[in-house]
């Protein structure tokens, strides 16, 4: 949905007024709707590959092109027992485009058959070399940085999507759902409500389980409590009341989406079962909610979703092209799940309304160890959707042994020229600008603050027009 100048002025005015008048302005539903219209009839899905996906064996140089990527790859990834080298033959059926910098032909890991199908359909953007300055090798720290979208204040900060939610939604709404038992860092904030649920059919309000005979009375009492709190003047109590009401309504609305989906979309319901992996089942929960919104289900308005798949911390027994290998299995699971999800969305008629971004907290070290890889730096991201312009974006990291840092990892650089890295905030910013219609100045002031310092080594010149969304 394009933003008109009138809408822009309206939104800008509301934000300014909110700053002057305080949070109570957000309870005005007309103002709130104008803000929430940033996403319009679209959806955003964030998929986290937990553990640090090995980017070098995910987007692999097949030849040297005009450089030496393949030669350097073969020096780092070995053959024989425990070897991780993917041969050109292994990559023959999952070729994608060429590296924009070196011209090296690229191939996806042979387990990435689902990704390859999406790539061939022009719906997958492969964004190479994503990272940030002064990278951390700690799962916890790097995860927090990516989730916050801010290397300077990762701990406890709101998530990058959460900051957007906080500026556009209030406690009485549930704009976002995590397929998890906890709120993901990307969605963390303290202004609006986020639902965390593993399976929709299991969602229920936590009444006491002493007796089910008086549920109606309990429900009435809880609703009255929340209603009273929600109409109070003290902001925290009001938030508890509003979010409580939202939770109560969600607990009564979301479980029904399960039946609705299973009944109406049995073929796709079965297709996720065919993949038979947790990522497929998690994506199916998101498909149920999108279908529910599309069908106008009561009290279902979620448009932001998060899910994660673990197991990418492949220090040991990573595997190369063997289908029984760990990394192969992970790529097969996620790629095949995403393909079913995309086909499901396309069949619903909403494929071009959904944008899905895939990230991991870091890549792996360029030289392998005995049978796996240790923590690294820059790696690829994926963006998928009907409105995505597929292709290869960003440069492959420089994996030449002489170019690696003391830790054996690729070096982040913003210097103009061949191996310029992609800062992950440029990917986020492109999504915020072109999918959520957030103006670039607002992104910079509210979500993704730029770094100071050396422009060759820090993120000082954002590019929110990477091209995969327009």
């Amino acid at each position: 949905m394009a933003i008109t100048r009138r809408q822009f002025l309206k939104r800008s005015g509301a934000v300014s007024a909110a700053a002057l008048l305080g949070p109570s302005l957000f309870t005005n539903p007309f103002v709130r709707r104008a803000l929430a219209d940033t996403i319009g009839d679209r959806y955003l899905v964030v998929l986290f590959l937990d553990g640090g996906n090995d980017g070098l064996n995910t987007v692999v140089p097949v030849d040297d092109g005009g450089g030496s990527l393949r030669t350097a790859y073969e020096a780092a990834r070995l053959t024989g027992t425990g070897g991780l080298r993917l041969t050109p033959s292994d990559l023959g059926t999952t070729l994608i485009g060429a590296d924009p910098n070196t011209g090296s032909q690229l191939g996806l890991h042979p387990g990435c058959t689902g990704f390859k199908q999406l790539y061939d359909a022009g719906k997958l953007a492969v964004i190479q070399g994503c990272g940030y300055p002064d990278y951390s090798l700690s799962h916890d720290q790097s995860r927090a940085i990516w989730m916050a979208g801010d290397p300077s204040t990762p701990g406890g900060a709101a998530g990058w999507v959460g900051k957007h939610l906080a500026a556009n939604y209030v406690g009485s709404e549930i704009p976002a759902v995590c397929i998890s038992d906890r709120i993901a860092g990307e969605l963390r904030q303290s202004t609006t409500s986020v639902l965390a649920v593993g399976r929709l059919r299991d969602l229920g309000f936590p009444y006491d389980d002493v007796s089910g005979d008086d549920l109606a009375a309990k429900r009435a009492a809880v609703a009255a409590l929340y209603d009273t709190a929600g109409s109070g003047t003290q902001s925290t109590i009001r938030y508890i009341g509003e979010s409580g009401t939202a939770t109560l309504l969600a607990s009564e609305s979301y479980p029904a989406l399960d039946d609705l989906y299973v009944t109406d979309r049995s073929a796709f319901n079965d297709a996720y079962d065919t993949v038979n992996r947790s990522t497929a089942r998690d994506l199916r929960e998101i498909a149920k909610m999108i279908y529910g919104v599309k069908q106008g289900a009561a009290n279902v308005h979620a448009r932001f979703f998060q899910l994660a798949n673990g197991g990418y911390d492949t220090h040991s027994d990573q595997g190369a092209a063997d289908p029984a290998g760990q990394h192969y299995g992970l790529h097969k699971e996620v790629g095949d799940s995403l393909k079913v999800f995309y086909d499901d969305l396309a069949d619903m008629g909403v494929a071009d309304k959904v944008c899905l971004v895939v990230w991991s907290e870091f890549s792996r070290r360029v030289p392998q160890n005995d049978s796996g890889t240790d923590h690294g730096s820059q790696g690829p991201m994926f963006v998928i959707g009907g409105a995505v312009t597929g292709g290869v974006y960003g440069n492959h990291p420089n994996i030449d042994p002489a170019a690696l840092d003391d830790n054996g990892n690729t070096v982040y650089s913003q210097a103009a020229g061949g191996f310029r890295s992609t800062d992950f905030r440029d990917v986020y910013g492109t999504i915020l600008k072109h999918w959520l219609n957030v103006p670039a100045p607002t992104i910079l002031s509210s979500v993704l603050p730029v770094d100071g310092g050396d422009p060759d080594t820090q993120w000082t010149a954002p590019n929110f027009d990477m091209g995969f969304l327009t």
Binding site: L137, D317, G329
Partner: protein
């Protein structure tokens, strides 16, 4: 020699996976089981004693100083008529989390990942197994007397059932593995490709680049000693210790391509027990390294710390 190896490989029995309960009560032992090439005791095999290179248990079948043991986990097994429970809520492999656990083991992490991905609890499906994952157990040595020793490893697993007839059952399982040196398989030249490879694999990988210390997650003293990172982090690198740095020491002090100074190389002095103010002896809170291994480090430094090849006296 090559022909002899080929004959052995062709005639030897391949590693056979046998289902073992892993211990615990007979009624609950089927909740999760191991599939592994158990071979001891012979009358009722439940543990693995494997000679490096023995293809009946070492999956790589090569004398390389490491026993590669293929292990799978199955949920809701039907292996025992005494156990009919079906319903697994969770399977937890010990030391599988890369969160600073000093006993973190990447092989356990790999096994846990298989469980999460391929069994994906909760499940009541019977006989649901992971693909085998490879537990790599290195032998110990070679030491100064030219001897190698066996190394033990243990896989501990705790399984909780779903609520079955109003109760939750617990099944604690253990699989013991011992990797023994192959006969005539204890020479540095046979097990490693060069002096630094030996230092990396026999010292750093086993005693330093472990969770909570000089691994990626912890990077104690701003020093990473994992493969691919250790060499450049050591050779001619300034130490983080302020006193050592002020004294002009390096982590590995190289003077030229064939000469180094062990006396001002903090790596060696840390292994020996450093002067006051230069930090603690390493490995921290562990027994000192075998003196012969420390000698390998000293000889390597004195020879200019080459990244490849053998320094005389270290093989």
């Amino acid at each position: 020699m090559l022909a002899a190896v080929a004959i052995i490989a062709a005639t030897a029995r391949p590693a056979a996976a046998i289902t073992v309960g892993g211990g615990g009560g007979a009624r609950t032992d089927c909740l999760a089981v191991f599939q592994a090439p158990v071979n001891t005791p012979a009358s009722h095999p439940r543990s693995i004693v494997c000679a490096d290179g023995d293809p009946t248990c070492d999956a790589d079948g090569v004398v390389n100083g490491v026993c590669a043991i293929a292990i799978a986990v199955c949920a809701n097994s039907t292996f025992s008529p005494m156990c009919t429970l079906a319903g697994v809520q969770s399977i937890t492999i010990a030391h599988a989390r890369d969160d600073g656990d000093p006993k973190f083991d990447p092989a356990m992490q790999a096994l846990q990942q298989r469980v999460q991905s391929e069994i994906d609890p909760p499940t009541s499906t019977t006989g649901l197994c992971t693909s085998p994952t490879t537990l790599r157990v290195p032998i110990r040595g070679p030491f100064g007397n030219g001897m190698c020793k066996p190394r033990k490893a243990v896989v501990d697993m705790v399984t909780l059932s779903t609520v079955i007839d109003g109760a939750v059952y617990r099944d604690a399982d253990r699989l013991r593995v011992r990797c023994e040196p192959a006969p005539d398989g204890c020479t540095a030249q046979a097990l490693f490709s060069g002096t630094f490879d030996r230092i990396q694999r026999q010292i750093f990988d086993q005693s330093c680049a472990v969770s909570g210390c000089h691994d990626s997650q912890s990077r104690a003293g701003d020093l990473l000693l994992e493969p691919g990172a250790a060499y450049t982090n050591l050779v001619d690198a300034a130490p983080a210790n302020l006193n050592a740095n002020a004294a002009g020491w390096k982590r590995v002090h190289v003077l030229d391509a064939t000469t180094g100074d062990p006396d001002t190389s903090l790596l060696l002095q840390k292994l020996l027990g450093p002067p006051a103010g230069f930090g603690a002896r390493m490995p921290f809170n562990r027994r000192p390294l075998d003196r012969a291994l420390i000698d390998v480090v000293e000889l390597w430094i004195a020879a200019g710390a080459p990244q490849t090849g053998w320094v005389p006296g270290t093989d």
